[in-house]
Amino acid sequence: MTPEDLRFLLVGAGLFILGAIGFLTRRNLILMVLSAELMMHGVSMTLVTFGRIHQTQEGQIFTIFTLTVAACEAGLALALVLSLYRKSHSLDIQLWSELREPDMPAPVQDAPARIDDGSGSYGDTPKLTPAGIVPKDPPRTKSSAGASSART
């Protein structure tokens, strides 16, 4: 390993940690995806450097595959972001804290960004019937579907 390789490795590591900082601190869904891409750049840089250290093609070939996967990931992530945005009309990640412990308070919101349609949950998110209890009324009636579409 030459000092030159060392410099590239350090730059890769720097890109990686910058992406990680962005992923952890930012609350915008798109910025988080972008930060993940920045981490990916750091990884690519490291892989290419390793390939050069070993004098083989694998580093670059692996980076090409990483690129492919990153493209897929970006497409899917944006689709997910869009569908999340459709439900909450916001890109704020803190709106989505349904997995918290039941007795934990919800994260403090800046503004009532979410549109509450009064159904107690996010619009037409599929609801699970609690096990063992006969549902009192059909979970999704035509009228409720109509109401949700009328809302949007």
């Binding site: 030459t2 000092p3 030159e4 410099r7 590239f8 350090l10 730059v11 590591a13 720097g14 890109l15 940690i17 910058l18 990680a20 900082i21 962005g22 952890l24 601190t25 930012r26 609350r27 915008n28 798109i30 910025l31 972008l34 930060s35 891409e37 920045l38 750049h41 690519s44 290419v48 450097t49 390939g51 050069r52 250290i53 070993h54 004098q55 083989t56 093609q57 694998e58 670059q60 070939i61 090409i64 492919t68 996967v69 990153a70 493209a71 990931e73 497409g75 899917l76 944006l78 689709a79 972001v81 869009l82 945005y85 459709r86 916001s90 890109l91 803190q94 800046d110 503004a111 949007t152």
Partner: protein
């Protein structure tokens, strides 16, 4: 560890300055904190400079040296600006710049195809898509949640501790990168090859009308009796094609890694189908 701290004070100073700069630039816990950006930028730049300086000074040509400095500093600086940007559109643009700088570094590492592909994929496609989405979702400009950040101190400190650990490891050179098993075999095969790893300037010189000073760019720390780890577990160094040679890359991709290439293609197809399935439909209403 203490040895390293004493041996490389510059690295430590650079890391600390850099981290403070990032923290300065980062949006605070509360919205509306309008810190001036200039001190943060200065701190970051100083930290970056010290960090890159501490990486040692290899004996490369001046052109390489300049290009490395330009690309590395701009990549890292753009990264910092991206993750601290208040406006997501600016963040996307800083990311595009960081991508371009990274591609420059790829070129320096004799990976021209990769550099081109990354520019095409990221700057050409991904960034544009991101910008579309941002403009679709945030037509009213910067939102409240973009003015704030969570756990920034913890994230920054832990991240820079990681970077420091990596730097320490690399600078102590205790990590033997390379596999001794293939050394003996590689020795014979490598004998015929020019020992110099081709880099950007070497390639330019080789393609330019046969300059006599083309070859002596061999790094000094790669003596003949101890060839620098010329291969890995997967394959030995290719004697016919230098690293970054497009021909060798293509041959390797479509012979050794044909199956993986097909898999990656399938993955792209699946991902595009998935994205179409996930994306909101027209009859479900506009965004």
């Amino acid at each position: 560890m203490m040895d390293w701290l004493q041996a490389h004070p510059m690295t430590v100073v650079g890391l600390v300055l850099w981290a403070v700069g990032v923290l300065w630039l980062m949006p605070g816990k509360q919205a509306g904190s309008t810190r001036p950006k200039i001190p943060g930028l200065l701190l970051t730049a100083a930290g970056l400079f010290a960090f890159c300086l501490s990486c040692g000074k290899p004996q490369t040509q001046l052109a390489d040296e300049v290009m490395f400095w330009v690309f590395a500093v701009s990549a890292l600086l753009c990264g910092v600006l991206m993750i601290t940007a208040r406006n997501p559109v600016y963040a996307a643009l800083w990311f595009a710049l960081a991508t371009l700088a990274t591609c420059g570094l790829f070129l320096l590492q004799s990976a021209p195809f990769l550099a081109a592909a990354t520019i095409i994929v990221y700057a050409g496609a991904v960034i544009v898509t991101f910008l579309f989405v941002i403009m679709l979702a945030q037509q009213s400009g910067a939102a409240g949640y973009d003015q704030k950040s969570g756990q920034s101190v913890m994230a920054t400190i832990s991240a820079f501790i990681l970077l420091g650990a990596v730097a320490m490891t690399l600078q102590q050179e205790k990590l033997e990168i390379g596999v001794p098993v293939v050394v003996a075999k590689a020795k014979e095969t490598n004998a015929a090859v020019a020992p110099s790893p081709p880099n950007m300037s070497a390639m330019m010189q080789a393609s330019g009308s046969g300059s006599p000073a083309g070859l002596p760019t061999a790094p000094a720390d790669a003596p003949e009796e101890k060839p620098a780890v010329p291969g890995n577990l997967l394959s030995s160094a290719d004697p016919d094609h230098a690293v970054g040679d497009l021909k060798g890359l293509g041959r390797s991709l479509f012979s050794d890694y044909l199956f993986a290439v097909e898999l990656a293609g399938t993955l792209l197809l699946v991902a595009s189908i998935g994205a179409i399935a996930l994306a909101p439909r027209r009859e479900q209403g506009a965004l």
